[in-house]
């Protein structure tokens, strides 16, 4: 089959690899679409993946075309979105119910072959069945949405809070959509890229600005979310948290990045600074939200490219052009 393959740091190509074979409790998914994510760039830089080569791609959906010998829950022809998480169930963090913090971190498209290919193998337990009428090419959005749902699990309920979100990329826009659904009094977004702010405005964001200084919220914001991973944005955002409010680190910073904050203010105003990492018990709810129309895929997905253009897709993502970029193996 045709697949993207990262063979060594900095080396990625679309090539031919053997068709995958399912284990007893796996299914083979014919990939309809696979999203590009920052994690894929990290893998290309030689990070995250314990060994290369690897077929990347952890945001994918498609149609079941083959079943392992012990699979009874799904049938050939079912449409599924796939949770890429593979928890070990043996380490300390799996034992306390925090599988997203698993010490033996493993995931489709990171440690084993993923969805940037014509076919991908997935454990049957990781498949969320999509009802008829839902586009599998759009359903590649379920995985990033499940990360956003976990972010809201970490935040807890914040009915009628004002939200300030840094970064109007795919994840920022998804957090904005969920904030509106979760009863936010208002959602404001900050981005330096006016094109991204236009999209946020189109999706109904209350305020879209290039600097939070332009906004008039004298008490600050009950919830501030960083979806950039950029230290300057983080340091701009933490002081804007209202008394008793929460700052959520959602964006992925460089591993060695350090940001400054005022510990006095954290103490004096009881500020919570917390983080959200990937997916935890949130994939099914994200699937249900997606089916319910929580996202507008035609807005969220800016580019749909053939699998043969995987390298170009990565380059475009790296350049920060567009929003969610997906490759569709069935296209062209």
């Amino acid at each position: 089959m045709k697949a993207a393959l990262i063979s060594a740091p900095g080396q990625v190509e679309v090539t031919t690899v053997p068709d995958p074979t399912p284990g007893p409790r796996d299914v083979v998914v014919q990939v309809a679409a696979c999203g590009i994510c920052g994690t894929d760039l990290h893998i290309l830089q030689g990070e995250f993946a314990p060994s290369l080569p690897i077929v990347p791609g952890h945001e994918f959906a498609g149609e079941v075309v083959a079943l392992g010998s012990a699979v009874t829950e799904l049938q050939v022809g079912d449409q599924v979105a796939v949770d890429p998480s593979l928890h070990c169930h043996e380490c300390r963090y799996c034992r306390i119910g925090r599988g997203n913090l698993c010490q033996s971190f493993a995931a489709l498209g990171v440690t084993v072959s993923g969805g940037a290919a014509e076919f991908a193998v997935a454990p049957v337990a990781s498949c969320f069945r999509l009802p008829a009428g839902v586009s599998t090419t759009d359903a590649a959005l379920v995985e990033p949405l499940s990360c956003a749902v976990h972010g809201f699990d970490v935040l807890g309920s914040h009915l009628a809070d004002d939200f300030l979100i840094y970064g109007a990329g795919t994840m920022g826009l998804m957090m904005m959509e969920l904030a509106k659904r979760a009863g936010a009094a208002s959602v404001s977004m900050v981005d330096l890229n006016p094109a991204r702010l236009e999209t946020a405005k189109l999706l109904g964001c209350d305020n879209t600005v290039t600097s939070a200084d332009e906004l008039d919220y004298p008490y600050g914001w009950g919830v501030v979310v960083d979806c950039t991973g950029v230290v300057a944005a983080i340091e701009d955002g933490i002081p804007r948290v209202d008394r008793g409010g929460t700052f959520l680190q959602f964006g992925v910073s460089a591993e060695k990045a350090e940001a400054r904050f005022s510990p006095h203010r954290v103490y004096n105003h009881e500020i919570t600074i917390t983080g959200s990492m990937a997916v935890l018990h949130s994939f099914e709810r994200a699937g249900a939200l997606f089916v319910a129309g929580a996202l507008q895929p035609e807005v969220m997905i800016s580019d749909r490219l053939p699998l043969g253009s995987y390298v170009e897709a990565l380059e475009q993502f790296r350049a920060g052009v567009g929003r969610k970029i997906v490759v569709e193996p069935g296209r062209g």
């Binding site: 043996e90 034992r95 337990a125 935890l280 018990h281």
Partner: protein, 343 residues
């Protein structure tokens, strides 16, 4: 010895009051499984129920059943895909193998998995045997500070930990535990460890109440003094008796905005003072088994904050399972008989 090619001794329940020790092949661990040489198995009320009546509700003993689900032991063989370093580990066995793919498992509430395969629940065999297959993630390593008996009793301690998590017991909470059986006594101990400022335990058995007092809890013999007379006003009631009248009386003492968690299994219908619940904004919770509790239970046992060994009141070999199952009825003061399948 290559255990995988030999046989083992197994105690089977063939019918009501009908136990026998038989030889069976030692099972071979499949992918993701470990083989545990069983050291200690606590006797639970459910084991006694199957022995006395052959059923618990819809679960009926229709073929020979191995009882026992509170087990500890040592890993003697591992299947494919198991993390390295598991061989020779002393482990406590979490007895419910869950499916990991149903709605409840995927939501992180695996104790509510409808497809769980729970030890000693028909048709799944339990741990009154020399060797037991366990999913690797359900065989929890324990430190040397936790004895084999204590490692077995991490299962009922997990029930206690889960009920306290469910009801939000923490620093400064006043806790009432109704029923001083093994679960009630463990819940009282764990409540102190969770930071409770007051723990009151009720029962009608003076011997059990004496154990609770020795653990530092205040006790009330409700056959002598009613809760109302005793002037108890807990923030959290952990109901461990399953007794309808005890439940009714205890709910009516809970403080405003307090919580009630139902652990004990009694009748299907229990009267509740609902206007009291409404006026005081009480919250009622069910509590079923446990999820993700073993690391906490191990820490409580290893630190000595909860004493498990002192709850063990008798020891029995595999030929002596009947004596273990009948001890609570025969021997006053019995809290927890333990079976040692290797003896």
């Amino acid at each position: 010895m290559d255990v995988t090619t030999s046989t083992m001794r197994v105690s089977v329940l063939r019918g009501v009051h009908d136990l026998a020790v038989v030889e069976r092949p030692v099972p071979t661990p499949g992918p993701g499984e470990v083989l545990v040489q069983v050291a200690s198995v606590g006797v639970c009320g459910s084991d006694i129920h199957y022995y006395e009546q052959g059923r618990i509700g819809p679960y009926v003993v229709e073929q020979p059943l191995v009882l026992g689900h509170e087990a500890s032991g040592r890993v003697v063989a591992t299947g494919d895909g198991v993390a390295p370093g598991r061989a020779d580990q002393r482990v406590s066995v979490e007895p419910g193998a869950t499916c990991r793919q149903c709605e409840q498992c995927r939501a992180g509430r695996y104790n509510l998995c409808p497809d769980v395969r729970f030890l000693a629940t028909p048709p799944v065999d339990g741990a009154f045997c020399e060797y037991l297959l366990v999913p690797a993630g359900d065989a929890h390593p324990v430190p040397d500070a936790v004895s084999d008996d204590a490692a077995a009793l991490l299962e009922p301690l997990s029930v206690a930990v889960w009920s306290l998590r469910r009801s939000g017991v923490g620093v400064g909470t006043r806790v009432l535990v109704t029923g001083a059986g093994a679960i009630g006594l463990l819940t009282a101990q764990a409540a102190w460890a969770f930071g409770a400022t007051e723990v009151v335990v009720t029962d009608v058995d003076e011997g059990r109440l004496a154990v609770a007092r020795a653990q530092g809890s205040r006790t009330i013999d409700v056959s002598v003094t009613s809760l109302a007379e005793a002037g108890v006003e807990p923030d959290v009631l952990v109901e461990c008796s399953g007794n309808a009248r005890a439940t009714w009386e205890a709910v009516g003492t809970v403080a405003r905005a307090g919580r009630v968690v139902l652990v004990g299994m009694g009748g299907d219908e229990v009267r509740l003072p609902l206007s009291y619940v409404q006026d005081r904004e009480l919250q009622l919770f069910g509590s079923f088994r446990y999820a993700n509790t073993w690391p906490d239970a191990i820490a409580l046992a290893a630190s000595g904050e909860v004493s498990l060994d002192e709850l063990v009141t008798s020891h029995h070999g595999l030929d002596d399972v009947e004596a273990a199952l009948t001890a609570p009825a025969r021997v006053p003061g019995t809290v927890k008989p333990v079976v040692h399948p290797g003896c």
